[in-house]
Amino acid sequence: MALRALIGKDLRILRRSPVLVALLVVYPVAIAVLIGLALSSSPALPRVAFLNEIPPSQATIKLGSETINTTRYERELFQAIQPVAVTSEAQALADVRDGSTIAALIIPPQLPEQLASAAQTAYVRVIYNGNALNQSLVETAIESKLAQANALLASQLSRVADSYIDLLLTGGSLHFLGSTYDVLGLVRARSELAAIAATLPPSSPLRSRIAKVENFAQIAVSHLGGSKRVIGAVAAPIAVHQRVLNGRRTPLDSYAVAVAVAVSLMFVCILLASGLLALEREENTLERLRRGLVGPGALLCEKALLAALLGAAVAFAMLAGISLFVPVTWSRVALWLVAVLAGGLAFAALGVAIGALVRDVRAASLLALLVSLPLVFLALVPSGAVSTSLFEAIRVISAIFPFKPALEAIDAAVNSSQPSLGIALAHLAALIAAFGGVARLALR
């Protein structure tokens, strides 16, 4: 009866705070739309002035039996940048200076010649505008795509080298400067030598000399065969084979959804619970209520329950909104509800503990923000990003506040990630009891 009357009273007070109500409605919608758009649209590419100085007639080069088209590598680079075509180096520099592009990428005319020579390193030129952040952005984008282009080129060059080695080993036709030559090859050379040696008298001094050359041909055949494998390895020295431990890995966009929902749930629950309890002190009604009208336990339960229910509603609305942009499994909706309710109750328990410690709503809101923001950052620090001892300290701090377990619960409910929902819920239950106890003590 008393609990119902108090919940009705608090809802009436909230309804009469239009800014707060607007925030509770607008906030999840705005965040859901922003996150949805961010996750469902491609990232913007940096605008880079692009000048290709290679004449179109020289864009294709012939290297051995392989044909290399340089425009293919151009396309690789365009995946990382938004090219703005320019006709001269002067125009490229002017664009970078006036900021219409953040860098210029120039492919010099001698690039095909350098590639064809196979003796010189071919290069492209990148000009930055001096802004460290822009430079880092373009540098990372271009270097990553250049590495992919280099890998493709290395693979083609290794095939060229293979064909030359095969020619040396087994012989064949060599086309060079419009003429065709018949190459004997080491294997056939060895057979020829053996045949010549067989025609010589046993006492001939030429026999031992021919045997030496024949032996060399044998060694060359064996080792040149091995060198083909070495060239193949140089083209792609390290490849990545991925394996995920601890169950299923949450895709980054789905994890971002869990983080966004957990952050919103945290803010709504902590701010509401602490604010509603602090309001009782600010209005001096706490003394009246504590005169036996409402027990401290019932009062704390009422505030925590109301904040958790409203927070869960906001979080659920966010999840539903985000599901318009990012695919989520609606069949797990019951688990979502359990996770956001448990997370909401844990955040609300922390909120009432804060509300019981302070005397007015402003102080409660400030303290709630001061406590909750660092918790988000700490909970998202990945292992390996800091020293082991610091990471252990962060793990302990994250474990004694509700953000990390709430995030794990929501992630487990939405994405079936590890640790399991059961473990996260047990953790949250322990925190609800602990912060409830702190609030009860502070209210004495």
Binding site: K9, R12, I13, R16, E283, N284, R288, G292
Partner: protein, 231 residues
């Protein structure tokens, strides 16, 4: 039987004794003024009588059937709720059988019927205090406790408040109030209780306090009484 009987009430906060061995009786229709210097323990005593503080020792006895109404010094009302909503809420929390009827009755008695649907935050200080007192009376208590009820009111508002309280006293409600205004205590209280440093130094009528100090002016008698006892 008295409406309220306090026996050897004491309250300690750690080592500090805020109230020590206070005893008195309050009969139906009787008005008691609790006076004393700042820090004497007046609000602590009133909080114990109201049930907001647990006494460290001693006992309280209340006439069966009706409870205690409490009016704190600072208005303790929800400013975002209307006058009627505040009265209804506290009537429900006090477990009054017909909360709506009790709230409407208090609106009539306090003359706030025309402001019933106004948010309390929009009322003047005097009207807010009337709501504060109305909430204390909404359960029709046998004893009404008021902590410095007129300290924030102008003389006209004070007169109206005492007129209202007087009507309740006339119908048998016992009233205990704390005040720094000795003239107010002399005018409205039949009994005085003087506290200093948590100790009850005097219990009797205003006339008895004046006679004890051979003074016709009660304020002078009160100051002299305290001075003689080192306060």
């Amino acid at each position: 039987m008295a409406n309220l009987e306090a026996r050897a009430l004491s309250k300690r906060f750690g080592e500090r004794v805020a109230v020590r061995d206070v005893s008195f009786e309050l009969d139906a229709g009787e008005v008691l003024a609790i006076i004393g210097p700042n820090g004497a323990g007046k609000t602590t005593l009133l909080s114990m009588l109201a049930g907001g503080l647990e006494p460290s020792s001693g006992s309280l006895e209340l006439a069966p059937g009706r409870g205690i109404g409490w009016v704190p010094q600072q208005t303790a009302v929800y400013s975002k709720l209307s006058v009627l909503e505040n009265l209804r809420l506290f009537a429900r929390l006090e477990r009054v059988a017909d909360a709506d009827a009790a709230a409407n009755r208090m609106l009539e008695q306090t003359g706030l019927a025309d402001r019933a649907n106004d948010e309390v935050g929009s009322l003047s200080g005097g009207n807010r205090q009337r709501v504060n007192i109305a909430i204390g009376l909404v359960s029709d208590p046998a004893v009404l406790l008021l902590d410095e009820p007129t300290s924030a009111l102008d003389p006209r508002q004070r007169a109206r408040l005492w007129e209202f309280i007087g009507a309740r006293v006339g119908s048998g409600t016992s009233v205990a109030f704390t005040t720094h205004d000795i003239a107010e205590a002399e005018r409205y209280a039949g009994q005085l209780l003087v506290l200093a440093d948590g100790e009850m130094l005097f219990a009797g009528s205003p006339a008895e306090l004046g006679a004890a100090e051979h003074e016709t002016d009660l304020e002078r008698a009160f100051v002299a009484f305290l001075a003689e006892r080192g306060h």
